[in-house]
């Protein structure tokens, strides 16, 4: 077998939206929007720099649902550039850009092979330098946005060919075979087809499912929401004489998403908390001086700062301030090292022993037990939510939004609601009290919750503010 090298990328999602960001300044918005294209540009650069023989793209080049003209034009441009370098491109379409989606009526540049739907197409890739045949590449595109069939089973090696075989597939491996709508299949199916390299797409998290044959999700090339954290890019695959593959990851993203946890335990006051957050911001800036970062801070732990966060809106204030600073920076075009705080996920609570509270025969205990019971089952949760969110359902937009909310988010809401209840109820008591005695009392209770008076004097608190995105 002739050694060669290729680039494997997937899920470019060109010009797709960035989820979860509200009230972006124009400069940041423009930069974010450009980031997928920038990543594509870097992909081309990497392909040229690494002297790859060809490039495979495993679907979801763009979000056809958005019908972005720019995305398609820019992709055409990139393909032309690669073609100009003599780099062949093999690509399939996935669930986000199925063949029936709105498409730019432009011919693909020479040297670009697009596999259609139906049966997996086959093509032979050649060496860039001299045209020696290197590999057989198969692939299948999504005709529509939903493919419930296990299309992996249709792939088969080219008869009689001893060349390296690469399969391009967009789908969810080892997913729920019954309900999956994105070409469900199992690892075993793939291994059984006898291909040397499964170039997968669809899952945005980078992962190598299997070594020989290689089954690889390269992940997307640019994170687009706080769910897509960490470095994003593509794989450079070197195939040696024995047909063994060696993978190298190359970062392509220009905007890095992160979730940082900031425990509030031990933070005495707002100033300390603000310092902690600002320090975290600067740490990120130092860590990634060349990239723009988008970060969500998870505020965790239990402490007295919680009350500030939940009642006084300190988190919202700080967020506004942080965003204002970075907006100034963005206005000066200093995107490298820009750290955009996407939001605070307030998961904190007052310093109370929640477990004890749950077991306690009290209003809060009852409330927590009730909440716990409801949260355990889908129906219970839905029942609770539908009752609570009934007014929202009257609006079409909100209805659509709420139906899209998944169970985890709902459970998060519930947890936050519990903390809010704790905070409010204990807060109400404390608001009714006066004098310093309460403070002393509260602290004593915090130290020694075993005293019965604690239960009276310092009913559990916590409750999540509204910082849910």
């Amino acid at each position: 077998m002739i050694p060669f090298r290729f680039l494997h990328a997937a899920d470019l999602h060109l010009d797709s939206r960035f989820v979860g960001l509200a009230q972006l300044p124009q400069a940041v918005r423009s930069y974010l929007r450009e980031s997928t294209f920038a990543a594509l540009g870097r992909l081309v650069g990497v392909a040229v720099e690494e002297k790859v023989d060809f490039v495979v793209i495993s679907g979801d080049v763009y979000d056809v649902s958005d019908a972005s003209l720019q995305g398609q034009l820019r992709f055409q441009e990139a393909l032309r550039e690669l073609a100009g370098q003599g780099i062949q491109v093999y690509l399939i379409h996935g669930n986000h850009d199925p063949l029936d989606g709105p498409r730019l009526n432009m011919e693909l540049p020479a040297g670009v092979t697009l596999f259609g739907a139906g049966e997996p197409g086959q093509a032979v890739a050649c060496r860039r330098s001299d045209g020696t045949e290197l590999a057989v590449i198969s692939g299948i595109s999504y005709p529509t946005a939903k493919v419930t069939e296990n299309t992996a089973l249709r792939f088969s090696r080219k008869p009689g060919s001893s060349l390296f075989h690469i399969a391009l597939l967009h789908g969810n491996v080892d997913g729920d075979l019954q309900h999956e709508t994105y070409s469900p299949c199992t690892r075993k199916d793939l291994i059984g087809r006898g291909f040397d390299y499964w170039a997968l797409g669809h899952i945005h998290k980078r992962s190598i499912l299997h070594e020989r044959p290689a089954i690889v999700y390269p992940g997307n090339i640019q994170g687009r929401s706080v769910k897509e954290t960490g470095p994003k890019g593509c794989y450079i695959v070197d195939v040696n004489e024995e047909g063994h593959t060696a993978l190298r990851f190359r970062e392509l993203d220009t905007v890095r998403w992160q979730v940082k946890e900031i425990p509030i335990d031990g933070l005495a006051d707002e100033a300390e908390w603000t310092n902690a957050v600002e320090r975290a911001v600067e740490e990120i800036r130092d860590e990634l001086p060349q990239l723009m970062s988008v970060v969500r801070f998870r505020l965790t732990g239990r402490g007295n700062v919680h009350r500030l966060l939940s009642e006084k809106g300190a988190a919202a204030d700080l967020l506004t301030e942080l965003q204002r600073r970075e907006a100034v920076r963005a206005g000066q075009q200093r995107y490298a090292g820009l750290v955009w705080t996407e939001g605070f996920s307030v998961e904190t609570g007052l310093p109370v022993d929640r477990e004890r509270l749950v077991q306690e025969d009290s209003f809060l205990g009852e409330l927590l037990r009730l909440s716990g019971r409801s949260g355990q089952t889908q129906d219970g949760l839905e029942d609770l939510l539908s009752a609570a969110l009934k007014p929202l359902m009257e609006n079409r937009e909100l209805r659509r939004l709420l139906t899209a909310i998944d169970g985890d988010d709902k459970r998060d809401w519930l947890r936050s609601a519990e903390e809010l209840g704790i905070t409010l109820l204990s807060g109400a008591e404390e608001a009714a009290r006066t004098g310093s005695r309460h403070q002393v009392h509260g602290e004593e209770a915090a130290e020694d919750p075993g005293m019965p008076d604690t239960l009276i004097g310092n009913s559990a608190d916590t409750g999540s503010g509204a910082e849910e995105w």
Partner: protein, 1056 residues
């Protein structure tokens, strides 16, 4: 906790009281004011501090002045004993300033001091004073205070436990609902959500537009393609039309040319075809003709020139002799200058020689007699000669010096002599004056005077005589040297000079003396005598001078002449003296008488006079003596002079001999010798020069002669006419002429040489030209042959035909090029056909038609291009649009915001929902533990008449559920039942709140309103509770105490 002992030091009306309390129920029974309630207060005060002065009712100051306070001993659940000693400090001080000591004794024997806080926390389980009062140490008043249940601590507990503080829960719920409504409200317009929703709606509209971009772009692409296609088609049509038009235009353009071209072709066809005609025949023929004629001309000319040259050469033949003499002439001519120089030099030298010789003659003449060149050459001026000459000169000089010194000496002597003579005369004159005066005055004394006068006269005569002798003595030595010094002319000259000096001195003296004598007033006689003496001397001197001046006169006669003159003078003097004598005589006679009268006086005067006369005569005498001495001196000097004269003569002789030996002229003074020597040297030098000149002259003469001889020989050779002497001038001028002739000849020769060379050249040239001419003639005939022409004319005719043909061919080719360049084969044919078939007008017609068509096509194309431009512009616009299009992202942002808001809303609403649901659970299903317990107690107290009690949340309404009547509001119950209800609640609360640390319960006469049955029930309940808790009951009713004793067997009754 268990209270073991109370030691009341002083508290209210109690003092020095000790009360032991046991486990279980203790009944404090006593009459009113026995101190039951005080004991209760005491316990409170012991545990929580004695109330301050602000609360005198609760402070219980001891009425009898004992110490306010006491000791309480209690035991906690671990068995440790707490001893609390508390006393109020001083009457004036504040409540807080109490003396407190708390000692804890652990069962293991440890003891420790504790503070009030520790006490409250460890012993009392954190129960506050008010809570203790309301729950554990209860009097009837407090039991009936419903508000007691609403004290903050209790209500928070109840609230927490879901019992009493439901209002806060309601408030929280309401707050949450408000907040949720702030976020969102159906059909609301001002909520945040509403704003976001509006924004979303707007953005979605934009989004639709944004989505339309792609189809528009696609449509644009399709339209563009169509336009391109049409353009391409149009381009094809345009090309074909264009080429036809081009053809037509071209045809019109080249028509003129084409006509000419055709004509030329016809003419070409008519011309004969002559092949192999020599290239450029005409030109070549003409050239050859011209060359032949010029070559023939050249030959002729050269021949003529050659003949001329030969004639010229024959005409002039050169002079042979001159030719032979030429080099010598040159030589002579070159040497001529030097020859003339030599001649000039010879003449100059000859002149020099003559000068030298004249000079020599002069020198010889000046040297003296008899000397000629040989002598002069022989006389060598040696050092010895010079020395000798110097010696002589020195000797003569020495003589001269000596003589001079002596002369000077003699002169001085003579002057002194003169002075002496003068002094003598003066003396004599004064004597004479005395005498005269005497004579005048003493005339009377004549008798005696003659004698005396005679005597005087004698003396006078003697004096004159002596003077005369002296005079003679002086003249004698003078004449001696004079006669002797005449021998050499030099000595004579010197003497003469000396005489001249003496004479001058003497003359001066002679002239001066009379004057001097006149002045001194000497008597004339003596004057005259002196004068005479002097004059004589002068005369003698004058004579000497004359003798000395007269050289060569015999000097021997000089002395004789002088003696004669002296004698003459003596005689003259004698005459003069005799003349004087009569006079004196006459005078002596005349004065005798007069002199007699005055004889005495005269005698006396005379004596004086005589004395004066004597002194004067003495003086005279002295003067005379001196004069004589001087004369002696003079004589000695004269002798010396004489000796010197002799030495001089001897020297002179030697000198003369020396001169003679050297043939020098005699009389040459030694001083002149150096001059002579110089002359001799000069002469010698001149002699040498003369010799040199002579030699040189000889040489020059020889050279000149040689030159002249040579010239002469030439002359003889040439002319032969003058074999004899030829004057030099002639010779030279001949030579010069001859030389000129030679030069002319030489140039002539050169010219001849040139002429011969040219002739040779010309000859060659002539030959060459002849050869050329032959060649040319040959070539000409060959050319004619080649051209196929018989003669020149024929050749020219043929040549012009050929040329015309060539021209035509070239023109045709040019026109073809001009017409068809850029038009390849088939199109050129098309063009030709077109030209053949159409005349000019039809061509024009067709062309204008084609042009119109082309214009139409162009217009169409422009329209299409414009359309395409628009499409491209639109495409560009779409491109830009999509580049700046962030609607989708903005929409997403709004949705994110909305989602956040929804989350916020959800959390808030969920919390509210949870609270609501929990509240309902509480209200409907689950009463709190306290209420349940209270319900149980209440049921027991009412012996089942009431089943339970219920509390509604938020409204703080306590309700009792009657067995039959159902829920009854507590306010509607009878007093007793109410109290039972409250008791039940209190007991339940106490039971619930102090599960770990069971505080003792103190009930102050609570059962007064209970009927018997219920009292029993209550006591039974107390009994039950006392199993786990110390209970202290105070009562003032016997029946209560009794009943307690009866119902609770373990109870101990303490009578107060």
């Amino acid at each position: 906790m268990k209270i073991e002992q109370l030691q009341i030091s002083g508290f209210g009306r109690l003092q020095q009281r000790e009360i032991e309390l046991k486990e279980g129920v203790t009944v404090l029974y006593g009459r009113n004011e026995a101190g039951k309630s005080t004991t209760l207060q005491f316990i409170r005060a012991m545990l929580f501090g004695i109330p301050g002065r602000a609360h005198p009712a609760e402070r219980y100051e001891p009425l009898q002045g004992s110490q306010h306070g006491g000791i309480l001993t209690a035991c906690d659940s671990t068995g440790a004993q707490w001893i609390i000693r508390r006393y109020a400090a001083g009457g004036e001080q504040q409540a807080r300033s109490e003396r407190l000591s708390i000692t804890v004794r652990h069962p293991d024997g440890r003891t420790e001091e504790a503070s009030q806080e520790e006490l409250e926390r460890r012993l009392l389980g954190g129960i506050s004073r008010s809570m203790f009062r309301q729950l554990f140490a209860v009097s009837l008043d407090e039991l009936q205070e419903l508000g007691a249940l609403q004290s903050e601590e209790m209500s928070s507990y109840l609230f927490h436990a879901g019992m009493g503080g439901g209002g806060d829960i309601m408030r929280a719920e309401r707050k949450l609902l408000q907040e949720a409504e702030k976020l969102y409200k159906p059909r609301g317009k001002v909520q945040e959500a509403a704003k976001i929703l509006q924004q979303i709606e707007k953005l979605e509209r934009d989004m639709a537009e944004s989505r339309a971009l792609l189809p528009r772009y696609n449509a644009n692409l399709a339209a563009l393609e169509l336009a391109e296609q049409k353009l391409a088609e149009l381009e094809l049509a345009r090309n074909s039309k264009g080429s036809r038009l081009k053809l037509l235009r071209k045809a019109a353009d080249i028509r003129e040319l084409w006509l000419k071209w055709r004509e030329a072709r016809f003419e070409l066809e008519s011309l004969p075809e002559i092949s192999d005609f020599p290239e450029n025949g005409t030109v070549r023929w003409q050239t050859l003709e011209a060359e032949i004629s010029s070559a023939a001309g050249a030959v002729e000319r050269l021949q003529r020139q050659r003949d001329e040259l030969a004639a010229e050469l024959a005409l002039h033949l050169p002079d042979e002799l001159l030719l032979a003499q030429g080099p010598v002439l040159d030589l002579l001519d070159r040497r001529r200058v030097s020859y003339e120089d030599r001649r000039a030099e010879r003449q100059r030298l000859e002149a020099d020689l003559a000068v030298h010789e004249a000079h020599l003659e002069r020198i010889l003449r000046s040297l003296g007699t008899g000397w000629s060149y040989p002598e002069l050459a022989a006389f060598a001026v040696t050092a010895a000669e010079r020395e000798a000459a110097r010696r002589f000169a020195a000797a003569f000089a020495g003589y001269d010096r000596r003589m001079e010194a002596r002369e000077a000496e003699r002169q001085s002597l003579r002057s002194r002599l003169a002075a002496a003579a003068a002094a003598l005369q003066a003396a004599e004159r004064s004597l004479a004056r005395e005498h005269a005066s005497g004579a005048a005055s003493f005339a009377g004394l004549a008798p005696r005077s003659p004698r005396e006068r005679l005597q005087l006269w004698d003396e006078l005569q003697q004096a004159a005589e002596r003077w005369r002798e002296a005079q003679l003595g002086t003249a004698g030595p003078l004449s001696g040297p004079e006669s002797a010094g005449r021998r050499s002319s030099g000595a004579e000259n010197r003497r003469a000079a000396r005489y001249r000096r003496w004479l001058a001195a003497g003359a001066a003296l002679t002239l001066l003396l009379p004057a001097a004598l006149q002045l001194s007033g000497a008597p004339p006689l003596s004057v005259w005598s002196a004068l005479g003496l002097l004059a004589a001397a002068d005369l003698a001197l004058w004579a000497g001078l004359r003798a000395a001046g007269r050289q060569g006169t015999p000097p021997e006669h000089g002395g004789g002449d002088r003696a004669a003159a002296a004698a003459e003078m003596l005689r003259l003097r004698g005459l003069l003296l005799s003349g004087a004598e009569p006079e004196s005589r006459g005078m002596d006679a005349g004065a005798l008488e007069a002199g007699m009268r005055e004889l005495r006086r005269l005698m006396e005067a005379w004596n004086a006079w005589q004395q004066r006369m004597d002194r004067l005569s003495g003086e005279c005498e002295a003067c005379r003596t001196e004069a004589e001495a001087l004369a002696g001196h003079e004589r000695a000097l004269a002798e010396e002079l004489e000796r010197a004269e002799a030495e001089f003569a001897e020297l002179d002789g030697r000198y003369t001999d020396w001169l003679r030996q050297r043939k020098l002229p005699e009389g040459l003074s030694p001083d002149g010798l150096p001059d002579l020597f110089a002359l001799v040297e000069q002469g010698n030098e001149l002699l040498r020069q003369r010799d040199k000149l002579t030699v040189r002259l000889g040489e020059l003469g020889a050279e000149c002669e040689a030159y002249e001889h040579e010239a002469l020989s030439l002359l003889q050779q040439a002319g032969g006419n003058s074999s004899g002497e030829v004057p030099l001038f002639t010779l030279l001028s001949w030579l010069e002429n001859r030389k000129r002739e030679w030069d002319v000849l030489r140039s002539e020769l050169l010219r001849r040489e040139g002429l011969s060379a040219r002739m040779a050249e010309m000859h060659e040239e002539l030959e060459e030209n002849r050869r050329q001419l032959e060649g040319l003639v040959h070539r000409s005939s060959a050319l004619l042959r080649e051209g196929g022409a018989g003669d020149g004319e024929d050749f020219l005719r043929r040549a012009s035909a050929v040329q015309r043909r060539t021209e035509l061919v070239r023109a045709i080719r040019q026109w073809e090029l001009a017409m068809f360049t850029g038009w390849e084969g088939s199109r050129a044919e098309q063009l030709q056909q077109l030209l053949e078939q159409h005349d000019a007008s039809s061509l024009e017609e067709e062309r204008s038609a084609a042009e119109n068509a082309a214009v139409n096509l162009e217009e169409e194309r422009n329209i299409l291009l414009e359309q395409r431009g628009k499409l491209l512009q639109e495409q560009e616009h779409l491109h830009e649009r999509c580049m700046g299009d962030t609607v989708s992202q903005q929409l997403e942002e709004q949705r994110s915001a909305l989602r956040q808001l929804a989350g916020q809303y959800a959390v808030t609403a969920l919390a509210a929902e949870l609270i609501g649901r929990t509240r309902r659970i509480y209200e409907q299903e689950k009463q709190p533990q306290v209420l349940q317990l209270a319900s149980a107690y209440f049921a027991k107290l009412t012996q089942g008449e009431y089943r339970r009690m219920v509390m509604t949340l938020g409204h703080k309404e306590l309700k009792a559920e009657h067995e039959a009547l159902g829920l009854l509001d507590s306010g509607l119950l009878s007093r007793g039942t109410q109290e039972q209800l409250y008791l039940a609640v209190r007991l339940a609360l106490a039971e619930t709140m102090s599960r770990q640390i069971r505080l003792p319960l103190m009930l102050d006469d609570l059962f007064v309103n209970f009927d018997e049955g219920r009292l029993s029930a209550a006591l039974a309940l107390i009994g039950e509770l006392s199993a786990t808790r110390q209970i202290v009951m105070m009562t003032c009713h016997r029946y209560v105490a009794d009943a307690a004793m009866r119902i609770i067997p373990s109870a101990s009754v303490i009578s107060v």
